[in-house]
C-alpha cells in the first residue's frame, strides 16, 4: 500500500548521510579528442598509471565516437557517468561520479569552451593543437582538483593574462625589477 504523504515513510529519504562511503573526485578526468580519435588534452584528477590512462582513453574514445548524433550527452561507463559534447571537430568529455549533476557539468564544459574562445579569439582545433600548454593553463585557472575555482569568466581570463605577462618579463633577482613588476601587477 503506497502512502500519499511522503514525509515520514520512505526508506532513502530522511536517512543520515553515509559517512562510510569514501568521497572521491566529483570530476575524475576530462579528455579532449578529435573526430578521428586523436587526443588533444587529457586532465586526470585521480591517480592512475600511464597504462591505465591509455586503456581508459582508448575505450572511452571508441565508445563516444560510436554514439549517434541524436543520442543524449550522457552515458554510463564502468561505474562513472560520462558527460560529453562536441564543439566543431573536438569532443569534450568529462567523467563524473554518480551523485554529480550532469546538467551543470555540461555548463562547466561550455564555460571552458567560452574561455578558450575568448582567449584565442574564435577558437578552433588547430589552436588547441599548437597551443596545448595554454589550453592546460586556462583549464587550471578555471578548475582545480576537478571543481570550479572561479565562476567569473572575466576573472579567469584576467588571471591568465597576468600570468602570460609574467612570462614575458625576464625574471630578475634584482629587487628593483621585482618591485616594479609587483606594481604593474597590482595596477591591473
Amino acid at each position: 500500500v503506497q502512502q500519499s504523504h511522503c514525509v515520514a515513510s520512505a526508506s532513502a529519504a530522511n536517512q543520515e548521510p553515509d559517512f562510510s562511503r569514501p568521497s572521491t573526485r566529483s570530476m575524475q578526468f576530462m579528455l579532449l579528442f578529435s573526430r578521428q580519435g586523436k587526443l588533444r588534452l587529457q586532465k586526470w584528477y585521480v591517480p592512475l598509471s600511464d597504462k591505465e590512462k591509455k586503456k581508459i582513453t582508448r575505450e572511452l574514445v571508441q565508445t563516444v565516437l560510436a554514439r549517434k548524433p541524436k543520442m543524449c550527452s550522457f552515458l554510463e561507463w564502468r561505474d562513472l557517468k560520462i558527460v560529453y559534447k562536441r564543439y566543431a571537430s573536438l569532443y569534450f568529455c568529462c567523467a563524473i561520479e554518480d551523485q554529480d549533476n550532469e546538467l551543470i557539468t555540461l555548463e562547466i564544459i561550455h564555460r571552458y569552451v567560452e574561455l578558450l574562445d575568448k582567449y584565442f579569439g574564435s577558437v578552433c582545433e588547430l589552436d588547441i593543437i599548437f597551443n596545448f600548454e595554454k589550453a592546460y593553463f586556462i583549464l587550471d585557472e578555471f578548475l582545480l582538483g576537478g571543481e570550479a575555482q572561479e565562476t567569473s569568466k572575466k576573472n579567469v581570463l584576467k588571471a591568465i593574462e597576468q600570468a602570460d605577462l609574467l612570462q614575458e618579463v625576464r625574471w630578475q633577482t634584482d629587487s628593483f625589477f621585482h618591485l616594479v613588476f609587483q606594481l604593474i601587477l597590482r595596477s591591473n
Binding site: 529519504a13 530522511n14 572521491t24 587526443l39 550522457f74 582538483g145 600570468a163 609574467l166
Partner: protein, 775 residues
C-alpha cells in the same frame, strides 16, 4: 661539435603533423627525443623549458616521456616563471604519486606556496590540489591552512580546493582546517564562496560532527542563494539571465546534505527551495541544471508533501522537454523516487511509457525500468500491452531484462489465469531465446499451479513448437508440458479455444524431433526424453516409447544416456512403480516466504484459539514397506528425475500421490477450494492449500480464514498470501494448512471479512474430504 639550438615547440608540432604514416611520425619523434635527451644530459638551462614542452606534446601523442620527469623538477625549482609554468604542467602530466620521485617536488612546492608572486603560489596550490600524494599533503597541509586564511581572494579560493584534496587524501587532517572555515561564507568574492561551499560539503560528508557543527550555516546559505536569485543582472556571473548557476547548484547540494534527516534545517530551507523551483527559467539547460539540483535536494530532505509533489511535477515537465538530456535526467531521478513517491510518479505514467519509443538507448532503458516499477493491479493490462510491444521491437540487450520483468509483473498482477498464460506464451514466442534460464522452472511451476488452464496451455505450447523449435526456453517449457498434459492434448479437451486434432504418434514425432534436432541444447534433449517417458503412462503407444528410450541408452551424450538407462530400468524392473512415479505433478508450494510466518495451532479445540507457535511433534509412523525397500535403489533415479523435471531449489513433493481438489465452501460469492498434497518426508501430514475467490462485484477486505479440527488432530496454519479477496475472480487468496492425521478428516472453518462496508462472519463444517487425503 655543432651546438644545435633545439627547435621550437610549434615548429616541432608542425613538422610532426606533416608525417604521412605512423612509421614516419615515429621516426621524427625518435629523432627529436634523441636530441632532447642529449640536451638534458648537457644540463642546458636555457632550453630546458622548450624541450620539456616538446616532450609533453609527444607524450600526448602516446610516446614515452619518463626521461623528462627529473627535468620537470628542475624547471619547478627554477626562478623563471615560464620554467615553473611548464615544470608544474609536466609534473602533473608525467609524475604520479606511485613514483617516489614525486616527493622531490615537496620542497619546491613549499617554497612556492610562500612565494611573493601570487601566480607562482597559484601554480603550487593547483599542482598540490590536483595530484599531491598523502605524504606531500601531510607535509604541506599547514601551508595550505595558512593560505586559507589570507585576504587575497585569488589565493583563498585555490587554497580551499587544495584543502579539499588534502582532506580526501588524509582525512585525519580535516580538523585543522576547521578554524579557517569560520568566515568563509562572509566573502563577497564568488570564487571563494564557491570553493568554500565545496570545502564545507566535503567536511560535512566525511564527519557527523562536522555536519552537526555546520548546520548553523543554513540560514546564511539560504540568504546567499536568495540574493543570487533576487539580485538584478550581474554581468560578471551571468549565464543566460541566471546569476552564477555554479554557485547556486553547489549551495543547493550543501543544503541537501545539511537538511537530510534534520527537521529544523529542512524547514529553514523549505521556502527558498520552493522559490527556486518556481522562479527558475527553464528554457535553457542552465536553468534546468538548477531545477534538477533543487529536485534532488527536495527529495532528500524532510520536505513538506506539497514541495515533494512540486518536485515530481518538475520531473514530469522535464519528461516532456525537447532536450533529451533533460528527459534522461528526469527518468533517472524518477527511478530513484518511484518507491517513495509512487502515486505522484504514477501520474506521469503515460509520458514515461512514451519514452520507451525514444531513440536513445539510455533513455529507453530507464523508461523500461520505470515502467516496470509503475505496474500495478489497476494498469496491468495497458502497461503489459506497451511492454510486450517494447519487447518485440527492442534491442537484444534489453530483451532478457524485459522478459524477466514481464514475468514478474504478470505473476504479481495477472487479472486472470488465461491472461497470464497468454502473456507467458507471447514472451516465449517473441523473445524466447533471451529468456533467462531460471525462468523455465518458474514458468513450469506457474503452469502446474494453473490447473484449469492445463489443456489450453499444452495446446498453445504444442502449436508453438510446430512453428519454431529454435528458442530453447520455449522448447523446454513446451516439452515439459507435453510430457505432463499430453493426455489432455490428444483428447482435445481445450475449452478456451478450438481444440486441435492430434494423435499420439504426431506428438511423439514432435518430441523425438527435438531429440535429433541440431537446434536443441543438451538440456532441451533431457527435457524431451523425460517428456516422452512420462507419456508412457498417458499414451497407449508404450512400445514406441520403450524403443526410443532404449535407443538413447547408448547415446554419446552422457546425460541423455544416463536418463535413458534409468528409464529403461523403470520399464524392466520397476514397472509397477512407473504410474506412481510419472503421475501428474501436484501443485507446488512456493518455498520462499516473505515475512514472519504466523503459526496458529489448535489442538482439538472446537473454536480455534491462538496458541504459542510450536513445531508439530515428529510422527512415529514408518514409511510403508514397499517404499522403504526400493527407496534407496530408486532414490537416485527419482532425484535425477526431480532435477530434470524442475529446479531442485523448489521443494519437490515427489512421493505424493495425486489427490483431487475439492470445494470446501461456496456461499454469497465466496468460494473456497482445497487442494492437497502429502508432506515430504512425513507422509502423514496432509498439506492443504486453500484458494479463496470472490465472484461478487466488490472486494472482500480484512479476510481472515480460521480452521478447527477434532481433538485427535493437530493443525498448523501458515500466513495467507493477502487479506483482500479481489472482486470478480480477479485473483485468489491462498493459505496453507498442515494437518497431522490418521483418521477421517473433519474441519470447522470460520470466515470473517468486510464486504461493501459491512462485516460478514460465517461458520461452516467441511466433511467432504476425499479419502486419499487421510489414508
Amino acid at each position: 661539435w655543432v651546438c644545435h639550438t633545439p627547435i621550437r615547440l610549434r615548429e616541432l608540432i608542425r613538422t610532426i603533423r606533416t608525417a604521412r604514416t605512423q612509421a614516419e611520425e615515429r621516426e621524427m619523434i625518435q629523432k627529436e627525443c634523441a636530441a632532447i635527451r642529449s640536451s638534458f644530459r648537457e644540463e642546458d638551462n636555457t632550453y630546458r623549458c622548450r624541450n620539456v614542452a616538446k616532450l609533453l606534446y609527444m607524450h600526448m601523442l602516446g610516446y614515452p616521456a619518463h626521461f623528462g620527469q627529473l627535468e620537470c623538477l628542475k624547471l619547478i625549482a627554477s626562478q623563471k616563471f615560464t620554467d615553473k609554468r611548464i615544470g608544474y604542467l609536466g609534473a602533473m602530466l608525467l609524475l604520479d604519486e606511485r613514483q617516489d620521485v614525486h616527493l622531490l617536488m615537496t620542497n619546491c612546492i613549499k617554497n612556492d606556496l610562500n612565494h611573493s608572486t601570487q601566480y607562482v603560489q597559484g601554480l603550487a596550490l593547483c599542482t598540490l590540489g590536483c595530484m599531491g600524494s598523502s605524504e606531500m599533503c601531510r607535509d604541506l597541509a599547514g601551508e595550505v591552512e595558512k593560505l586559507l586564511k589570507t585576504s587575497n581572494s585569488y589565493l583563498r579560493k585555490k587554497a580551499a580546493l587544495c584543502a579539499v584534496h588534502v582532506i580526501r587524501k588524509v582525512p585525519e587532517l580535516m580538523e585543522m582546517f576547521l578554524p579557517a572555515t569560520k568566515n568563509l561564507l562572509s566573502e563577497k568574492n564568488h570564487g571563494v564562496l564557491h570553493t568554500s561551499v565545496v570545502l564545507l560539503t566535503e567536511m560535512c560528508e566525511r564527519s557527523p560532527d562536522m555536519l552537526a557543527h555546520f548546520r548553523k550555516l543554513v540560514p546564511q546559505l539560504v540568504r546567499i542563494l536568495k540574493n543570487l536569485i533576487m539580485s538584478g543582472y550581474s554581468p560578471e556571473h551571468d549565464v543566460s539571465g541566471i546569476s552564477d548557476p555554479f554557485l547556486q547548484v553547489r549551495i543547493l547540494r550543501l543544503l541537501r546534505i545539511l537538511g537530510k534527516g534534520d527537521d529544523d534545517s529542512s524547514e529553514a530551507m523549505n521556502d527558498i527551495l520552493a522559490q527556486v523551483a518556481t522562479n527558475t527559467e527553464t528554457s535553457k539547460n542552465v536553468g534546468n541544471a538548477i531545477l534538477y539540483e533543487t529536485v534532488l535536494t527536495i527529495m532528500d530532505i524532510k520536505s513538506e508533501s506539497g514541495l515533494r509533489v512540486l518536485a515530481i511535477n518538475i520531473l514530469g515537465r522535464f519528461l516532456l522537454n525537447n532536450d533529451k538530456n533533460i528527459r534522461y535526467v528526469a527518468l533517472t531521478s524518477l527511478l530513484k523516487t518511484v518507491q517513495t513517491d509512487h502515486n505522484a510518479v504514477q501520474r506521469h505514467r503515460s509520458t514515461i511509457v512514451d519514452c520507451l519509443k525514444d531513440l536513445d538507448v539510455s533513455i529507453k532503458r530507464r523508461a523500461m525500468e520505470l515502467s516496470f516499477a509503475l505496474v500495478n493491479g489497476n494498469n496491468i493490462r495497458g502497461m503489459m500491452k506497451e511492454l510486450l510491444y517494447f519487447l518485440d521491437s527492442c534491442d537484444p540487450e534489453f530483451k532478457a531484462d524485459c522478459a524477466s520483468g514481464v514475468f514478474l509483473a504478470a505473476e504479481k498482477y495477472a487479472p486472470s489465469k488465461r491472461w497470464h498464460i497468454d502473456t507467458i506464451m507471447r514472451v516465449l514466442t517473441t523473445a524466447g531465446s533471451y529468456v533467462r534460464d531460471d525462468s523455465v522452472p518458474n514458468l513450469i511451476q506457474l503452469i502446474t499451479n494453473s490447473v484449469e488452464m492445463h489443456a489450453y496451455t499444452v495446446q498453445r505450447l504444442y502449436k508453438a513448437l510446430l512453428d519454431d523449435i529454435s528458442q530453447q526456453p520455449l522448447v523446454q517449457v513446451a516439452s515439459w508440458c507435453i510430457g505432463e498434459y499430453g493426455d489432455l492434448l490428444i483428447s482435445g479437451q481445450c475449452e478456451e479455444e478450438e481444440p486441435i486434432q492430434v494423435t499420439e504418434d504426431e506428438v511423439l514425432d514432435v518430441l523425438e524431433g527435438l531429440l535429433v534436432s541440431n537446434l536443441s541444447s543438451p538440456v532441451t534433449r533431457g527435457y524431451s526424453l523425460t517428456a516422452i517417458m512420462k507419456l508412457s503412462t498417458r499414451f497407449s503407444s508404450v512400445n514406441r516409447i520403450k524403443k526410443v528410450v532404449s535407443i538413447y541408452g547408448s547415446s554419446i551424450d552422457v546425460e541423455l544416456q544416463q536418463r535413458a538407462v534409468e528409464y529403461n530400468a523403470l520399464f524392466k524392473k520397476y514397472d509397477h512403480m512407473r504410474p506412481a512415479l510419472l503421475e501428474r505433478m501436484p501443485i507446488m508450494e512456493k518455498t520462499a516466504s516473505n515475512g514472519p510466518t504466523e503459526i496458529v495451532q489448535t489442538n482439538g479445540e472446537a473454536e480455534p484459539s491462538v496458541v504459542e507457535p510450536k513445531h508439530p511433534p515428529p510422527v512415529g509412523q514408518p514409511a510403508s514397506q514397499v517404499k522403504n525397500t526400493v527407496f534407496g535403489l530408486v532414490s537416485r533415479c527419482l532425484s535425477l528425475m526431480a532435477f530434470y523435471l524442475f529446479d531442485l531449489s523448489k521443494t519437490v513433493n515427489f512421493l505424493s500421490i495425486g489427490i483431487p481438489p475439492m470445494t470446501a465452501y461456496n456461499k454469497n460469492g465466496l468460494k473456497i477450494d482445497f487442494t492437497f498434497e502429502r508432506a515430504n518426508p512425513n507422509p502423514n501430514v496432509a498439506v492443504i492449500t486453500i484458494h479463496a475467490s470472490n465472484s461478487t462485484e466488490a472486494d472482500m477486505t480484512d479476510f481472515v480464514f480460521q480452521a478447527a479440527v477434532p481433538k485427535t488432530f493437530q493443525l498448523q496454519l501458515l500466513s495467507p498470501s493477502s487479506n483482500v479477496v479481489p472482486a470478480l475472480n480477479q485473483g485468489t487468496v491462498t493459505q496453507v494448512i498442515r494437518v497431522l492425521n490418521q483418521q477421517k478428516l473433519r474441519m470447522r472453518i470460520k470466515l470473517t471479512y468486510i464486504h461493501k462496508g459491512s462485516a460478514v462472519q460465517d461458520l461452516a463444517e467441511v466433511n467432504n474430504f476425499p479419502p486419499q487425503s487421510w489414508q
